[in-house]
Symmetry: C2
Subunit: 310 residues, 2 copies
């Protein structure tokens, strides 16, 4: 595959897709633009859940069974923290702490989040370009029937139990795309732009809320292919289906296509759902990504559809 | 033993003495005033080596073999930190990180170091009063033949190799004794004030450099008993003997007595050195503290000498 590929991604599902892309494209030709709306400060540490998940997944360090954190993690810090009555609603593995401690330390020395992210990716031998959507803080806030919650409070502490009324991205209006983000979308060498099968409202919308990114996607010469997160009328994991219901949306690929209207040229849908009546150009495949082979198949489906639409 | 006991202490040696005192005095009657000149910020974390050593030793969590850190410690954080090219000259165990992360987090929420220290001690069921010498920053700087070094750079990174020319305590002139420090020295209920067998220049001098503490000791109604750190013409551990040589001092109890002149009423010396020619009131015992029984013996020797001098 020649040409460059740009991916907009959240955490777990997007990381699987990027891993698939890395099997079929040269790493240096891949740019991942990562959601940072879930980033938060906790106990003075800086946690970037989606960047961290990409770092762990792409370097082979991810815990495959639990879907977050590191394989072979230890929990000595957390036990000691509990013994000191420290806040324990967010689990911090001992190895995971290295990213969370070094990130604010490097930022305090003057490096932007993008520089820190590039340093981490390079330290672990990742050849792709991994960019936060912005070096400026953008915080996803969930308006629920139990009040407004920061994303991690909703997602981790409350386990997505509160009913969602609306979502806002605090700070987005003043945020600038991180260096390289707009270039990766506009670059004439970019042959395909992929929106990962991440949650459109929680993981992709924060990226689109950064001024300039939506406009760049709409004007991009490369086809923009979105991967639907719906499989068999449900979301694969996470709160997508529950959230769509609470927002009054049908759980269908039409709704996904509508959500991305104006920026997306094609949609990859799962074979369980089919594409009857879907007006947008599309391709149908098995989008479940359990094995590395699955990830390669799904990545190829996106690249092939882009080639067809170019 | 009735009455209150106040101890001025550094880390390892002092912690052993305090553990001995806890066997013969009610914990609530013991106040430990702890050196914070070695405290430093590292990777955004707040490390108080002497307070931490007391917390671990008195709660039974200390690693007995290595003399610092926790028993059963794990090192997953440190391995991950190295993989990210983080600074690795100072070893941070996974469990140890809980104190270092929570301390700045609680301080950022408005608690002074003394409040944080009391919270940690109470969380681990320690009944004594553990006070930092000051809530204000005081930093021990070592002037060496290789330039001026922060204490941990000299002690840990350089392993005390540079020759010491002088020592200064940055910030001391503006520091105030932590709440309770002066009271613990002046309190008419205080029957004995003990200076632990810590390094007089590196661990006790920073405490004495906080304005008001030396004066309070000189004026105290309770006898002030210093424990000599010299055993058999050498220091038990750490850089005391090397440092004394570099400062042009003989390694003798006369020098120790002279160092504490004006504030100390009596000296506990080791039986290997004896006390011939020692002008200050003194008692002789085996001051090596290998077992809990040793610690009790040494603690009793200090209390007995104070009783004799009262």
């Amino acid at each position: 595959m020649s040409g460059r590929v740009t991916v907009l991604t959240g955490g777990v599902g997007g990381a699987k897709l990027v891993l698939g892309l890395l099997q079929v494209c040269a790493p240096k030709n891949i740019t991942a633009i990562v959601n940072t709306g879930d980033d938060f400060q906790h106990l003075g540490l800086s946690i970037s859940p989606d960047i961290d998940t990409l770092l762990y997944t792409l370097s082979g360090k991810a815990n495959k069974a639990q879907g977050w954190g590191r394989e072979g993690e230890t929990w000595t810090f957390m036990e000691a923290l509990k013994s000191l009555a420290g806040e324990d609603w967010f689990l911090l593995g001992d190895g995971d702490m290295a990213l969370h401690v070094l990130r604010p330390s490097l930022r305090a020395s003057g490096q932007p989040l993008s520089g820190v992210t590039a340093h981490f990716a390079a330290s672990w031998g990742l050849g792709l370009n991994m960019l936060p959507m912005s070096d400026d803080p953008v915080a996803t806030h969930i308006m629920t029937d139990q009040g407004e919650l920061r994303f991690q409070r909703y997602f981790v502490e409350q386990r997505c139990a509160p009913a969602v009324r609306a979502i806002r991205f605090a700070g987005a209006e003043a945020a600038r795309p991180a260096p390289g983000v707009i270039d990766a979308i506009r670059d004439p060498e970019t042959r395909t732009i992929v929106i990962a099968p991440s949650n459109p409202w929680l993981s992709i919308d924060p990226i689109l809320a950064v001024p300039g990114i939506r406009e760049a996607l709409a004007a991009a010469s490369a086809p923009v292919i979105a991967m639907s997160p719906i499989v068999g009328g449900q979301a694969v994991k996470g709160p997508t289906a529950k959230l769509m219901g609470e927002l009054g949306l049908a759980i269908s690929n039409e709704v996904i296509a509508n959500q991305y209207a104006g920026i997306v040229d094609g949609l990859i849908v799962d074979e369980r759902d089919g594409a009857e009546g879907l007006a947008i150009p599309h391709a149908v495949t098995d989008t479940l990504m359990k094995t590395l082979g699955d990830r390669v198949r799904v990545a190829r489906a996106a690249l092939d559809l882009a080639l067809r639409l170019a």
